[in-house]
């Protein structure tokens, strides 16, 4: 079986000392970033992006993946101990995690969250290995019209699903595409929306957009909360043995397995990220449970399910990113951006011509999950102390990192002003409850999206019917239309039900 051989090759890549070191460091950084309220994996990877330019591509991508699922491990720490979710996908972990702490079961809560995350991550990694090559082969059948249709689907699905607000999601998507329009048009040489500025002719680097929206925007949003007299609960610092009882294990294992499959599938779908995966699996467990009244009062399966789901989801989201070039979430979009910076084409050729990258990353999923679990079980008590770092010191340092990171891309101060503009935009979008993931996704794939559209038209000599000629593209476009119509219809139905 060639897949197994490739995988063994991948493991050899992972265990090269420098890769292994960065993998461990990535897990650690991810856990810490995930723990800190307001900072999620997207911010972490965005800040690290400029630093990875000096790494080898496989090292960089391994590190980014490690941060991604490390953050999923860490995100729940503050949910469980403080009832403050470290990021969106840890919201569901508050529902039963914090009540467990109140009941004096913090140790079991921390343990089950690490165990559930580990199982979810491991099973998804196996699924990843099994699906990677077949999915990559599907991509070989895609011409420009099919790619165009696929991106339409990815973008509309992200816009309509990300946070349930379809108009704002579409607006966010349009903004991202507009950002991608700036600069010299590569096909005709026409300069678009540069306002005569020479530096803008090369286009706006999406790294600047990402660091602006996720880094600076996040800091600005957090400045708001500061100074308000927050009653910080004292963090529990002394822990007993962080482990679970047999009875708790028996209750949790089936929900974990169910949540893993739910999370993985949602991860593969474009747009729906860890937040939706976690909330959905929580609701599934609640509705399937024989004693739903225990949920919200410290039911261990109510914590195990979302924890397994968000880890499974993070790995599911990486799958289409590497095989089809369509990221499954905002964070995965940043990783797609990184691939493009290295001049790598996602898809079947990535696994064939650059096995050290394709399979190295796959193998790192297994190793990284073990490392993150090891880090989170015995060290949980120690790591939690990081939550005590005052944000008043943290946020200025992050701001400085944003600037330096942006400077490292082009060595140009013009990007500083762009950073400030996008930071402000990111802040405004959060204020108006507009999802940011569609914009990030659109600004990363925007140019390719337009290229595939115009290449299709060139193939057909300007005939628009080319988009409806192949079964694949028709199916994808129909799905895209459905993804837009569904929330509107279900919203209307909901309203009617309320009226009655």
């Amino acid at each position: 079986m060639p897949t197994l051989e490739y995988l063994m090759y991948g493991f050899r890549v992972v265990f090269i000392p420098s890769n292994f070191l960065w993998l461990t460091l990535g897990c650690f950084l991810g856990t810490v970033i995930g723990m800190l309220p307001g900072l999620g994996p997207a911010t972490g990877i965005a800040l690290l992006l400029p630093l990875t330019f000096v790494m080898k591509p496989e090292t960089a991508l391994i590190t980014m993946c490690a941060i991604f699922y490390g953050a999923m491990f860490g995100g729940s720490r503050s949910s469980i101990l403080l009832n403050i979710p470290g990021d969106g996908s840890a919201v569901a972990s508050c529902f039963d995690g914090y009540p467990m702490t109140l009941k004096g079961e913090a140790e079991a809560a921390l343990a089950i969250s690490a165990i559930a995350s580990f199982i979810g991550g491991l099973i998804s990694s196996v699924a990843f290995v099994l699906l990677a090559l077949p999915l990559a082969k599907v991509a070989l059948m895609f011409g420009p019209p099919e790619y165009f249709a696929l991106m339409v689907l990815a973008l509309t699905a992200t816009a309509s699903m990300s946070e349930g607000k379809i108009l704002k999601g579409l607006l966010s998507m349009a903004l991202g595409l507009m950002v991608a329009m700036v600069g010299l048009d590569p096909q005709s040489g026409v300069s678009r929306f540069t306002f005569g500025n020479l530096e803008l002719q090369g286009g706006i680097d999406f790294v600047v957009v990402i660091i602006g929206v996720y880094g600076l925007g996040e800091v600005l949003k957090n400045l708001e909360k500061m100074g308000r007299k927050e009653v910080m609960q004292p963090i529990k610092k002394k822990f007993g043995r962080i482990w679970i009882s047999k009875e708790q294990w028996r209750r949790s294992i089936v929900p974990i397995l169910r949540a893993t499959s739910v999370g993985f599938l949602i991860g593969i779908l474009p747009g729906a990220g860890g937040t939706i995966a976690a909330l959905m699996s929580y609701n599934i467990e609640k509705s399937l449970s024989k004693e739903p009244e225990r949920f919200g009062k410290g039911a261990i399966e109510g914590l195990a399910a979302p924890e397994a789901a968000n880890n499974a989801c993070s790995i599911g989201a990486i799958l289409p990113t590497f095989t089809l070039g369509i990221p499954g979430s905002g964070t995965a979009a940043i990783m797609l951006g990184a691939l493009m910076i290295y001049g790598l084409q996602p898809g079947p050729l990535l696994f064939e011509f650059y096995p050290e990258i394709g399979w190295g990353v796959v193998a790192s999923l297994f190793v990284g999950n073990v490392i993150a679990a090891l880090m989170n079980l015995p060290l949980a008590g120690l790591l939690v102390r990081i939550l005590a770092v005052p944000p008043k010191i943290l946020y200025p340092l992050i701001t400085a990192l944003c600037f330096i990171g942006v400077y490292a891309i082009n060595l140009s101060v013009v990007d500083f002003y762009l950073l400030i503009v996008f930071g402000l935009l990111g802040y405004a979008m959060r204020k108006f409850e507009t999802p940011t993931a569609p914009m990030i996704l659109a600004s990363v794939v925007g140019r390719k999206f337009e290229q595939s559209f115009r290449q299709s038209l060139m193939l057909s000599h300007g005939d628009f019917s080319i988009f409806f000629k192949s079964g694949i593209s028709i199916t994808l476009l129909i799905l895209a239309a459905l993804s837009l119509i569904y929330p509107i219809v279900s919203g209307a139905l909901k309203k009617r039900r309320h009226a009655i």
Binding site: A92, L171, V190, L220, M226, L279, Y395, F403, L411, R454
Partner: protein, 163 residues
């Protein structure tokens, strides 16, 4: 879908925009119109399909215009509940303004003063704003440590030259 109502935190609730977003809707509509006009006035391609570089921007402009109109329509339909929240916003709005001004200032002097001085000044100022003047010594030392650390990392480890 299996989303149970009530399991979502407040921000996830509505599928449609809320009434307070009327100003946003007007801004989006105006922006969409301006963008559409600008897209129409883009130069045509000298080679190939003259409309090649125009299709996408034009489509985007129209899309945003439509989104803006729909948002406006919805905000009109729903009963507007005006909430006066300006007083509450005042304090942190000022802080965010100051921080933004600091950032612009940083961008302005970055090349003139060089990385070390400008970053040290920027960080110290930022930290002092948040932590108060009393803790100036702590703020400046953190800023100094951080600046030197980043400088060392970039100049010596990553070999990226900072001004």
């Amino acid at each position: 879908m299996i989303f149970a109502r009530g399991a979502f935190p407040a921000g996830f609730g509505g599928i449609f925009v809320e009434a307070k977003d009327r100003y946003l809707a007007i801004a989006v509509l105006a922006f969409g119109l301006v963008y559409t006009i600008a897209a129409w006035n883009l130069p045509r391609a000298p080679v190939g399909n003259p409309f090649g570089p125009v299709y996408f921007p034009l489509g985007l402009g129209l899309l945003v215009t439509i989104i803006g109109s729909l948002m406006l329509l919805q905000s009109w339909k729903s009963q507007v509940k005006e909430e006066k929240t300006i007083g509450k916003h005042g304090k942190y709005a000022l802080r965010i303004m100051i921080v933004l001004l600091l950032c612009v200032g940083y961008a302005l002097v970055f090349h003139m003063l060089g990385f070390l001085i400008s970053t040290l000044a920027f960080l110290s100022a930022f930290l002092i704003i948040l932590n108060g003047l009393k803790k100036w010594f702590l703020s400046v030392s953190i800023a100094l440590l951080d600046t030197l650390g980043v400088w060392y990392l970039f100049e010596k480890v990553f070999l990226i030259n900072l001004p």
